[in-house]
Amino acid sequence: MPDTKIPRQAMPKQRPKERIRNFNEVALGFSAELAQKEAERCIQCKKPFCIEGCPVEIDIPVFIELVAEGDFESALAKIRETNLLPGVCGRVCPQEEQCEIVCVLSKRFEPVAIGRLERFVADWEIREGKMDVPSVAPSTGHKVAVVGSGPGGLTVAADLARLGHKVTLFEALHKPGGVLVYGIPEFRLPKAIVARECEILEKIGVELKLDFVVGRTATVDELFEMGYEACFLGLGAGLPWFMNIPGENLVGVYSANEYLTRINLMKAYLFPEYDTPIRVGERVIVIGGGNVAMDAVRSSLRLGAKEAHIIYRRSRKEMPARDEEIENAEDEGVIFNFLLNPVRYIGNEAGRVKQVELLKMELGEPDASGRRRPVPIEGSEYKMDVDTVVVAIGNGANPLVPSSTPGLETNKWGYIVADAETGKTTKKGVWAGGDIVTGAATVILAMGAGRKAARSMHEYLTTGEW
């Protein structure tokens, strides 16, 4: 029975003082009891807006009702009908802007914690030691190449494999998952969760080819020569942006990608047990206000930094990071500096960064993004001592695949031109989606793009019509 008098259930978390000394997951997840209590809040709308709010269209009310009934197995099976990555999505999707923002309850109360429930059922299965492998349609005999094993690629691979196509997933790194493994820290998304979701994919027949750099090891045209009939490019936005200010190449100035890759993929926080080092020092500043910046700054504290700062050129209101992550960072003691922009870095004799010069900003008129534009306050420069700088201002398009694929059109920023509804590119048989099309966005948007592309690819494979 829906009961709107029950408050939205809080997520149990590791205490801030403890969690900044380890890389274990911060949010501990619902117990079965909490999950059922939360699920009972759902009023089972006749016209559920939450489904429309979900880029991969999970049948949310049905799965929640099954949770309320205590049938967690069926709840998970319901989610897996449209989403093979519930453990990932339940953790890193911006639910507050998607399914939860449109929840009818949010008008008078707080929305149902859909993301936390999704995570709960995914974790429940692991705790039970089960693995529900979804059924797969009979083989169609068609071969598909999916390039990049991030959220977009994983979705395409899952959808097409379930439709009976033979899918090979090509990954340049030595582990599958893309940004889920190199970018998002263990304390927000345990790597075992990603590994498990990739394992399910292999169980439904997806072949994983790691250490394979499409654009170098083989070009897209060579994949077609190898017998693949269709190709999805889920390359991500993998070329870090810098601000092009003096001193940015000093030692100790990291791109967020380098910093997080050392930590997450290469486990530098376990150096010297693991061979990849990282050096953090006492004061770290992270430039930027997105989720990646939050991940980097919170990692810094865990690596032993005495002070970890966010330097953001607008105000807190404009910060693109999820509220939950900003709050987690605040609780952990991250120092937020708003309306500030670095103008240059100053190094010591060894070429290592020792200071940053910062310029104060004020907010002017809204710009094209609708956010108020930061305007420098002249003469407001001042210096701050730093040991480490992390530049987390976004990523551009990696040129490897576009430059080695004739006929594949890119726009002026180097992103691949693809139809928003189908993911079709300008090259026959090639689809693209995720950050390499839209620029840096979220995990779930890449998955949504993958879902649309998979539909279009299935149609092409079965009809031959482009």
Binding site: A172, L173, H174, Y182, L210, D211, F212, V213, R216, T217, A218, G236, G238, L239, P240, F242, N244, E248, N249, L250, V251, G252, Y254, S255, N257, E258, T261, R262, M266, K267, F271, P272, E273, Y274, D275, T276, P277, R279, A350, G351, R352, N398, P399, L400
Partner: protein, 288 residues
């Protein structure tokens, strides 16, 4: 996993490995490299491909023992497996018939990197002059291979124990003074050696390409650690290089960035040596 077919110690600090990596063997071109990760706890390090046998499906690399990973690799043998070999990476060296001579200049283990480039220049119909520099006689490698195709081969050693006493620049300076018709120079070796070559050839305005050995992780453009300044602009050695116009490279910055993790590298190496009970100090580590 990638199996080591052959391991041979070619001098006290360098091992030659032949490794099964079929796709890379068929695809690679001179100037390209691979990234190794030895095992689950290993780091990712770039190594230039010296040679390949497309039919056998093997690549050949020469690895100098400089730090923990290369030292550990030097203790691997035929039959052992490397967890990851990724490539071929980087842009192939552009090679065409040139109007003039090509000088291929190598320092130490850099000779393994220059060898395939020099050989392809020869195949393209260019006159190839090789200048190979080493610290001393007992670490000279690949001299015979260069002599088998190059038009002229000069060897220098820092201590004069073999060939001409001095650096590659000592030898090169004579050729420059004689006004030889040099169309292009390719120089590969320690950053400090490439810098010295560029400082010399700059006065003669001779095109000098260098292959930059910056620190890399993913080596596909994603992490940005390998960034170098070329002509005042930031470039990524892995996707834009590894070869650049040496006269435009900011070598001072490169040298500082190469030393980024010197202390950590020392800790890592000493820890490993203590664990395996090997007190042999790699020569490169002494220099660093």
């Amino acid at each position: 996993m990638f199996r080591i077919v052959e391991r041979q110690r070619v001098n006290p600090e360098v091992n030659r490995f032949v490794i099964e990596a079929s796709i890379i063997a068929q695809k690679r071109e001179p100037g390209q490299f691979v990234v190794f990760r030895l095992h689950e706890k290993g780091e990712r390090i770039p190594i230039t491909i010296a040679d390949a046998d497309a039919q056998a499906g093997t690549i050949t690399v020469y690895v100098q023992e400089l730090g923990k990973t290369t030292f550990e690799m030097g203790r691997m043998n035929a039959g052992d497996e490397i967890a990851d070999v990724i490539g071929p990476l980087g842009n192939p060296t552009p090679i065409e018939k040139l109007d003039g001579e090509v000088f291929a200049i190598a320092g130490g283990v850099g000779s393994a990197e220059v060898l395939p480039i020099a050989r392809k220049h020869k195949e393209a119909g260019n006159k190839v002059i090789a200048i190979l520099g080493y610290r001393s006689k007992d670490i000279v490698i690949l001299e015979e291979e260069f002599r088998s195709f190059a038009d002229e081969v000069y060897v220098t050693t820092d201590d004069g124990s073999y060939g001409r006493e001095g650096f590659v620049t000592t030898e090169l300076a004579d050729h420059l003074e004689k006004g030889r018709p040099i169309a292009e120079i390719i120089a590969v070796g320690p950053a400090i050696m490439m810098k010295a070559v560029c400082d010399l050839t700059r006065h003669y305005n001779i095109k000098t390409m260098v292959s930059l050995n910056s620190i890399m992780i993913d080596a596909t453009g994603m992490c940005g650690v390998c960034r170098v300044e070329v002509g005042g602009e930031t470039r990524y050695a892995c996707v834009h290089g590894p070869e650049f116009d040496g006269h435009k490279v900011n070598f001072d910055l490169l040298l500082k960035r190469l030393a980024s993790f010197k202390e950590e590298e020392k800790i890592s190496l000493e820890r490993y040596q203590a664990a395996v009970g090997d007190e042999h100090t790699p020569w490169g580590a002494q220099d660093a």
